[in-house]
């Protein structure tokens, strides 16, 4: 029954247990932390982006072997900056923020897939990540990818075979399971990945934009499954640009802006603050454009700092 007590919204739970309500500092003694981040910075390399930094003078050999080598055509993107938080078992945490704010990179880092440059990440158990970009082997059939994904998540060959029908059934892709994944629609691909990632009931499930695709029926099934994971003391992280999804499925939300976590709290409050802020930004931008149009010699479109999709290329590129 611990699960029910462990899965309140952040605020009410802290009040009820009478603890000092400081989830950001993680002083709760009762709740078991699932993920601890302490001052995490993540940088990833993008190839073919031109030289981003000047190369420091090092010996050639050191440069050749240096893992963070500043090579020609490589740019380093500092996607996550100084992020610290503690997430507890039974929580489901939504990450919100504009495109390019570092959400996907943070998810990958806390799943242990991209090592942080600085800071520490601790996990309680095994993390499974699924996302739009989580390409398995596209040229291989769905069935073979089920085996690859399942075994990488720690299932034995036998266990994967046992769960195979359930996975295919859940994903609802039917006959397509024997065709290469490159022939799948994006919805089919993400449904299959979701089914694979959750077949093993992970301790920590990391969902990157995957639930936006799929019909209402699948969304409901996915919702149920996420709740089940939380009830069995699992922790769920998700990125979604659909604010209603975050409000409905998450107990807590983190707002990222340019790699920083700038707000942390119950999902309702954070999402509302974020929505208000985005509206303000849009209003301000509309005003600025009106003012520009009023001037006869408008030269060119401004670089919209608040534009959705502006930084998408960078964020997605880093995910590959």
């Amino acid at each position: 029954m611990a699960a029910a007590e462990l899965s309140p919204d952040n605020g009410t739970g802290a009040d009820r247990t009478g603890q000092d309500p400081t989830p950001a500092v993680g002083a709760d003694q009762d709740r078991v932390p699932a993920v601890i981040l302490s001052h995490v910075h993540v940088t990833y390399r993008v190839f073919g982006a031109g030289r981003g930094k000047t190369v420091p003078e090092e010996s050639r050999l050191a440069r050749l072997l240096n893992r963070g080598a500043n090579q020609v055509g490589v740019r380093e993107v500092h996607a996550v900056k100084d992020v610290s938080f503690v997430a507890y078992q039974g929580e489901s945490v939504g990450l919100i923020g504009r495109n390019g704010s570092g959400k996907s990179t943070l998810l990958r880092a806390l799943a242990g897939l991209i090592p942080p440059d600085q800071g520490e990440i601790y996990l309680n158990g095994k993390a499974a990540l699924l996302g739009v970009n989580a390409v398995l082997m596209r040229q291989l059939s769905g069935a073979r990818n089920v085996m690859i994904g399942g075994q990488a998540l720690g299932l034995s060959t036998h266990e994967v075979r046992e769960k195979f029908d359930e996975i295919v059934d859940f994903s609802g892709i039917g006959e397509f399971i024997n065709l290469p994944m490159s022939s799948y629609s994006s919805g089919m691909g993400s449904r299959l990945r979701f089914a694979i990632s959750t077949a093993a009931v992970p301790d920590i499930l990391v969902v990157d934009e995957a639930l936006g695709t799929g019909d209402a029926e699948f969304r409901k099934k996915a919702n149920d499954r996420i709740n089940k994971i939380r009830e069995s003391a699992g922790t769920v992280f998700m990125v979604s640009h659909n604010n209603a999804t975050i409000k409905r499925m998450c107990t807590r939300a983190l707002w990222l802006e340019q790699g920083h976590v700038i707000m942390d709290g119950p999902s309702g409050e954070v999402v509302d603050a974020y929505t208000r802020w985005v509206e303000q930004q849009q209003a301000a931008r509309a005003k600025a454009q009106q003012a520009k149009r009023a001037q006869p010699r408008a030269t060119e479109d401004p670089d919209e700092p608040g534009g959705d999709g502006q930084d998408e290329a960078g964020a997605q590129g880093g995910g590959r």
Partner: protein, 297 residues
């Protein structure tokens, strides 16, 4: 409990490194994104043994599904190359030295070398080619080059069967020592895995190096005595170095297992096995040391 807001500058404060470590210890959390100890890494590798096999199969299938003749090419290619080499080196330039059965000598060396160079090439790109997988799933990354080598070993079996047929067709008598032929291939595979593991880490850190890999394999092709017997063309310490460098000694070992005119020589086998074990051990540790950095770029 809400902290921060739209106007917050920088990140919200959190646990210090010490506090985080203490909290993690109290509840038994593991740090991720760091290199595991070598022992745990090996144990993890063993636990994933089925996964290695699955990946090897997957690599095999994805390599052969895009052309109709599929596996036939893995026999046809070395055969055609062997024919060309025979014309140039055997007939035109006359590099056969003291060798009687030059066709078997040439094909045994060439087919083995093709196995080595293909394995080395694929293994060196194992991390870079699978970035998507590395960023989607957590597993010991050494699985990738190891699986590639297993794929290569399986993919080359038809070519090696062809080699046996060629050897018999050119007058070699099948004998008990042919049983050592698979053993020699396994040792050759170990040598290749060792250099492949080293190359995989270097290519991941500095991708430009992957352009050097074909050059390196070409140089090895010319100095490893594929189409000429080293002993007949080089002597003294240069000859010894050329003969006992890891690739050349592997070719000699394969020939000793198949050809009647090359009797089994314990030195060849011990040196090859030594290279195989030492290079694989060095390569594995070298690869493991950068485990925490794979996936970043």
């Amino acid at each position: 409990m809400t902290t921060g807001g739209p106007d917050h500058q920088g990140s919200l404060p959190g646990l210090s490194a010490q506090e985080a470590a203490a909290l993690a210890r109290r509840h038994g959390l593991d740090q991720v994104g760091v290199r595991p100890p070598l022992g745990r890494y090996c144990a993890d590798l063993w636990r994933h043994r089925n996964f290695i096999w699955t990946m090897a199969q997957a690599g095999f299938i994805s390599r052969h599904q895009n052309n109709y003749l599929g596996l036939v090419w893995s026999v046809l290619n070395p055969l055609l190359l062997g024919a060309a080499y025979f014309l140039i080196f055997g007939l035109l330039l006359g590099t056969r030295g003291q060798v009687d059965n030059f066709v078997a000598f040439l094909t045994a060396g060439l087919f083995t070398f093709i196995f080595i160079s293909a394995g080395f090439n694929y293994a060196s790109r194992a991390l870079v080619d699978n970035t998507g997988l590395v960023r989607a799933l957590r597993f010991p990354r050494a699985i990738l080059p190891i699986a590639v080598m297993i794929t290569e070993l399986i993919a080359t079996i038809p070519a090696f069967v062809m080699l046996l047929i060629l050897a018999m067709a050119t007058g070699e008598e099948p004998s008990l020592k042919w049983l050592l032929f698979p053993v020699s291939l396994l040792i050759t595979g170990l040598v290749t895995l060792g250099i492949g593991l080293i190359a995989a880490r270097i290519v991941h850190a500095a991708r430009d190096v992957s352009n050097l890999v074909p050059l390196l394999t070409r140089m090895l092709r010319y100095i490893s005595g594929i189409f000429f017997p080293i002993a007949d063309f080089a002597s003294g310490w240069i000859g010894a170095v050329l003969m006992y460098q890891p690739i050349a000694v592997c070719l000699t070992m394969v020939r000793e297992s198949l050809l009647g005119e090359f009797p089994l020589n314990p030195t060849t086998w011990l040196v090859s096995l030594g290279w195989g074990l030492v290079l694989t051990a060095i390569g594995f540790v070298f690869f493991w040391r950068a485990e925490a950095s794979y996936g970043r770029g």
